[in-house]
């Protein structure tokens, strides 16, 4: 039986495991198909306003459970296509803006910055996933609450 020199065997095992590890780690962060980012601003209240979330019961139930308000009025919606590395900004209304920028070509992660009247509220990063909205609690307004919902739509 022919044995490889021990040093080479060790390096071979090490390299193989390192390769497996990197492959596994990379698989957690593989680039996904392009996403359209949809930002919607809702005004939640308990008044007699018309509820505009009747067609999205799952989101409505979630918002009721989180914030306790019964009606959700859509104030505005904006869409962005962060397909390049330039920042793109969505303005669901004149109060809020969400700027999104791709981090690097090998990652589906996007950096984002939420601003209120052009002053930064939040900075962070996210991986957009369909059917996993990001719900951002906004400020109190009048007798209710402003809520931002960020959705990813596969193009």
């Amino acid at each position: 039986m022919v044995y490889l020199p021990i040093k080479w065997s060790s390096w071979l095992a090490l390299s193989l495991l390192a390769w497996l590890g990197l492959s596994f780690a990379h698989a957690q962060d593989v680039p996904l198909a392009p996403r359209e980012i949809v930002v919607t601003l809702y005004f939640a209240q308990n008044g007699a306003a018309r509820d505009e979330l009747g067609d999205n019961l799952k989101l409505r139930d979630n918002l009721v459970k989180l914030f306790g308000y019964q009606t959700y009025q859509k104030i505005g919606t904006a869409m962005v296509y962060p397909h390049s590395f330039s920042p793109v900004t969505a303005w669901p209304n004149k109060l809020f803006s969400l700027t999104v920028q791709a981090v690097n070509p090998a990652s589906p992660r996007y950096d984002f910055e939420l601003s209120q009247e052009e002053k930064p509220v939040l900075k962070g990063s996210f991986i957009p996933k369909p059917n996993t909205p990001i719900i951002i609690k906004g400020p109190l307004y009048d007798q209710g609450l402003l809520i931002l919902v960020v959705n990813a739509v596969k193009l």
Binding site: L14, F24, Q116, V121, K129, I134
Partner: protein, 130 residues
Amino acid sequence: MKNSKSFQKELDSLEAAPASALQDLRRDLRSLAQTQNRSDQHQAWAWTRLREELKKEEPSFFSLWKMRLLPVTGLAALFLVTGVLFYTSKSDLNIDSTGPELFANTFKSNGADVVWVTGYHYIPSSYPLK
């Protein structure tokens, strides 16, 4: 003793054996036997040592595994686990910073990522939303 027929025969049989890591030792022993510059006692000790070396088992895969590959593989597995933990520890949503006087926390709720921000200023109804 060093030039006896039995030792010559043993040397011949050793040289006929397939090459191994002990070839150098055999060559040295033959050289010693020919140059006659070592005592019979020393040569007897050397031959005894050679026989003992020859009796030793070839390193099996399992002994190789235990002695060398296991620690290396263990170390590599440790790096692997560390790497996987590092890469997967970053969740889908991260908040790096917030505006002044604001605090944010994230959690999951019924399949959605929630960013719970506190510290906003109240917006009166006189401010038009649209």
